[in-house]
């Protein structure tokens, strides 16, 4: 017992990166959000399987905007990864701010292009069940991007206020993994809605 008491002296105190409760919590959030997208894609494939005509009914979705946009979103993840690795962990605030700022910018560009992509479509939400599920799946994702941009903006502000140092930046670790998740979901959505119909 004395041993345990002594060891307590050396235990870290408070919120520490991947040992903080929030790190475990955000994985619960990711699990339940991943389930949301799983059920969305189930609905998409169910409607596709039950449709009697052509699927997608309006022809193959164009890759002109969606392809480059996918790369832009991935780059924002890379920027954030760099911000954490070579900024936060080394205590270099300049790099940290630059990295989060770049992620924020690239994420915003993705959202704007996604909006253009929507406006370019020849169908609208109520056209048919393909249109309904297309806008719903991409809409759910876009909503996550917008929330993620809010998270990135707060992280940038907190970094600018000097809240993070080499050891204490749990909020950044937690926010970053959420953003990477939002990007990973896009890859799945993009594959399901844009690439898979090309195989058929």
């Amino acid at each position: 017992m004395v041993e345990a008491e002594l060891r307590a002296q050396s235990l870290p105190v408070g919120s520490f990166g991947r040992r903080s409760s929030g790190w475990f919590g955000v994985w619960c959030l990711i699990a339940t959000e991943a389930a949301v997208f799983l059920y969305l894609l189930f609905s998409y494939f169910y409607l596709a399987a039950e449709s009697s005509g052509r699927w997608p009914p309006h022809g193959l979705p164009s890759l002109t905007l969606a392809g480059p946009n996918t790369v832009i979103l991935l780059l924002s993840s890379v920027a954030l990864f760099w911000a954490e690795r070579s900024g936060a962990r080394r205590g270099l605030r300049g790099r940290l701010l630059a990295g989060i700022g770049a992620a924020l910018l690239l994420g915003s560009v993705f959202a704007v292009i996604q909006w253009r992509e929507w406006r370019n479509q020849t169908f609208s939400l109520g056209s048919d069940n393909y249109a309904s599920i297309y806008f719903t799946v991409t809409g759910f994702h876009l909503a996550h991007v917008i929330i993620g941009l809010g998270v990135l903006a707060m992280l940038w502000l907190w970094a600018a206020l000097g809240y993070f140092d080499r050891e204490r930046h749990a909020a950044l670790t937690i926010g970053a993994v959420y953003w990477h998740f939002v990007d990973a979901v896009w890859l799945v959505v993009f594959t399901a809605l844009y690439l898979l119909p090309r195989l058929g």
């Binding site: 017992m1 345990a4 008491e5 060891r7 307590a8 235990l11 870290p12 105190v13 408070g14 919120s15 520490f16 040992r19 903080s20 409760s21 475990f24 919590g25 619960c28 959030l29 699990a31 339940t32 959000e33 389930a35 949301v36 799983l38 059920y39 969305l40 189930f42 609905s43 169910y46 409607l47 039950e50 449709s51 009697s52 939400l125 109520g126 048919d128 069940n129 309904s132 599920i133 719903t136 809010g150 707060m154 907190w158 000097g162 809240y163 993070f164 140092d165 050891e167 204490r168 749990a170 909020a171």
Partner: protein, 632 residues
């Protein structure tokens, strides 16, 4: 020692009065509130049931209009399944988790408060439909096309879909809290093979909820979009698929059934052995059976849809999977029977509830196997047989363990024992009333009586069984009333209980009753599954309950590693906060705005929610979330 405890109590206590009421993050207060609120909804749902039973007591009665009857059975189902059965177990687990695990609080105390407030607001949101005469009326599983705008244009269904999404947030954040608490907040030495079964049950239910709740929430969003924004998910006219709703609903619905019974099975697995004076027989198989039930439970949703015209292959697969569930269920049932058989039972009221639960579990299980068999299900589906089955499951496996659990833990919570004499009356009235009320429903179902009919013609031979059912249901209600009387009387007049009135084995019985605000004066060190029975079980290693980490520089508790529970980190825990209430109010405004087609109200709700979240998540030095935090 005493000044030290006074300081700990001051650190962890909630402010008195309304301030504490609205800002408390104490898991014990939140747990009690959860149980009390759940019982309020149980009473509401019970009254709805009794009104329906009067209407059905004889053929051709006209006490209720068909419309009123529809609203009553929908709200009855919603109340019992969503507002009572799940939340009451959250209440138990909220109160007990840190005490069973040897911690001072849950992993996310403020999330805990949020989960409770959203639950209350979602319940009020749902019940606000009643005075407006617009209560949901499409049954608790709300099938389209009947629930689509074309056939059900009023706000009734909007109350249902928005209310269920709102409540889903509460369930989800609560589940995340249980999972992280279990992973991180155990006393050193509380490795996963030493966890009480209740903890296993709640962990399994919580993981299930995290993965299953999104299905129904998504279904509700899609249905709302069909109703409001002209999408075509479920409407037949434009190639929508009404069966998609059924899939999404039951992908959630079946795991949910296990979520509202597995923690209750855990209550029995932990408390029954206390009264049998021996450890549970087959701890490891029972723990594994709990987890297995949920895993298989994700693959059986289609057995709710056998009559919808599925391909034979699907019927065969899901029928077989449903049969597989009997294996883990039987493992648990035999473990309880063996515990009884080889123990020296002490027949307290709590014991009677737990022992009778085993019988009801088997009856509900057998009727479940019957409806899981495809050919029989085609006969039984949508009849009163299914109503009988689900009530044996939900009352037998949820209400009986819950009431027994309250008899068991009431002395820990209040410091007083409940009255045993009144307890006997309470128990026998409930048991006889329940079987008298619900067993004949099997027969009514076999005689062909469909569920959800507001009346029936004379001469079908259904009058007799229905009258018996009505009498039984009123007797059951009297039993529940006796229970409530016992609770209220014992709060004032119960005999003082002391720390461990049942001479039980688990950690919560090592602290004073009622439990002090800080739970444990020192963080205990655990060496076995039965910390308080080590001497008589002649365990080789002994837990240390008196000496351990003191952690008294502010609100502190210990985080341990996931598998072996070795000390890992000292956590700084947040104090009382209004942020959870503010966020819940903001979300409530959002849902009211959506219901009332008011973009302004919804917008205010979103802004208020965002600001509350920001205040909540702002990194704080005292929680060690910022740079240059003082090391304690």
């Amino acid at each position: 020692m005493a000044p030290r405890l006074a300081r700990l109590a001051e650190l962890w206590s909630t402010a008195p009065g309304w301030r504490g009421f609205f800002s408390s993050v104490d898991h014990k207060q939140i747990g009690i509130r959860y149980v009390v609120t759940a019982f309020v909804f149980l009473i509401a749902g019970g009254i709805e049931a009794l009104v329906m039973r009067v209407q059905l007591s004889h053929s051709n009665l006209g006490i209720l209009s068909p419309e009123a009857y529809d609203q009553l059975f929908t709200m009855h189902g919603f109340s019992m399944i969503f507002l009572y059965a799940g939340p009451v177990l959250s209440g138990f687990s909220n109160y007990l988790f840190p005490l069973l695990l040897g911690s001072r609080d849950m992993a996310f105390p403020r999330l805990n408060a949020l989960s409770y407030w959203i639950y209350v607001f979602a319940g009020l949101f749902l019940y606000a439909s009643f005075p407006l005469g617009l209560a949901p009326d499409a049954g608790w599983f709300n099938y389209p096309p009947y629930s689509s705008a074309a056939y059900n244009p009023g706000l009734n269904i909007d109350f249902y879909v928005l209310g269920l999404v709102f409540l889903g947030i509460s369930t989800t954040v609560g589940a995340a809290n249980f999972v992280v608490t279990l992973l991180r907040m155990r006393a050193p030495g509380m490795s996963i093979n030493r966890l009480p079964i209740l903890v296993w049950g709640t962990l399994t239910a919580s993981v299930g909820n995290l993965l299953a709740v999104p299905a129904v929430s998504l279904g509700c969003v899609l249905l709302l979009m069909d109703r409001r924004f002209g999408t075509h998910f479920f409407d037949v006219e434009t190639a929508g698929q009404p069966l998609l709703w059924q899939h999404l609903f039951w992908m959630f619905g079946h795991p949910w059934v296990y979520a509202i019974v597995l923690p209750a099975l855990g209550i029995v697995s932990d408390a029954l052995p206390t009264f049998c004076r021996r450890p549970l027989v087959g701890y490891t198989p029972v723990a594994l059976a709990t987890v297995t039930t949920m895993i298989v439970g994700f693959g059986v949703w289609l057995h709710h849809m056998f009559a919808t015209g599925m391909p034979m292959m699907s019927l065969a697969f899901f029928g077989a999977a449903s049969m597989v569930i009997t294996i883990p269920s039987a493992v648990s049932a035999f473990a309880w029977i063996a515990t009884l058989w080889t123990g020296r039972p002490i027949r307290t009221t709590a014991f009677l509830f737990f022992a009778s639960f085993i019988f009801l579990f088997v009856v509900g299980g057998v009727s479940g196997v019957m409806t899981g068999a495809v050919p029989l299900d085609w006969q039984l589906t949508d009849t009163y047989f299914v109503v009988a089955h689900l009530h044996y499951v939900l009352i037998g496996i949820n209400v009986f363990p819950v009431v027994g659990g309250i008899y068991y833990w009431f002395p820990k919570v209040t410091g007083r024992l409940m009255d045993e004499r009144l307890g006997r009356w309470n128990f026998w009235t409930m048991l006889i009333g329940f079987n008298l009320g619900f067993f004949p429903m099997h027969i009514a179902g076999l005689m062909g009586m469909p569920r959800r009919i507001y009346t029936y013609s004379p001469g079908l031979g259904w009058d007799g069984v229905n009258l018996v059912t009505t009498i039984g249901s009123f007797m059951f209600a009297v039993g529940v009333a006796l229970f409530l009387v016992n609770v209220v009387r014992s709060l004032k007049h119960g005999a003082p209980a002391g720390e461990n009135p049942w001479d039980a084995a688990t950690l919560e019985w090592s602290v004073p009753s009622p439990v002090p605000a800080y739970n444990f004066a020192v963080i205990p060190l655990i060496a076995s599954r039965h910390p308080l029975w080590e001497e008589r079980l002649q365990e080789t290693e002994r837990s240390s309950l008196e000496r351990g980490l003191r952690l008294e520089n502010g609100r502190e508790t210990l985080a341990t590693t996931v598998m072996d529970a070795e000390a890992d980190l000292i956590l700084k825990m947040p104090g009382d906060s209004y942020a959870p209430l503010a966020l819940a109010v903001g979300l409530a405004a959002l849902f009211v705005g959506l219901l009332a087609h008011s973009a302004a109200v919804a917008g205010i709700g979103v802004v208020a929610s965002a600001l509350s979240l920001l205040a909540w998540l702002w990194p704080e030095r005292i929680l060690g979330q910022r740079a240059e935090s003082a090391h304690g």
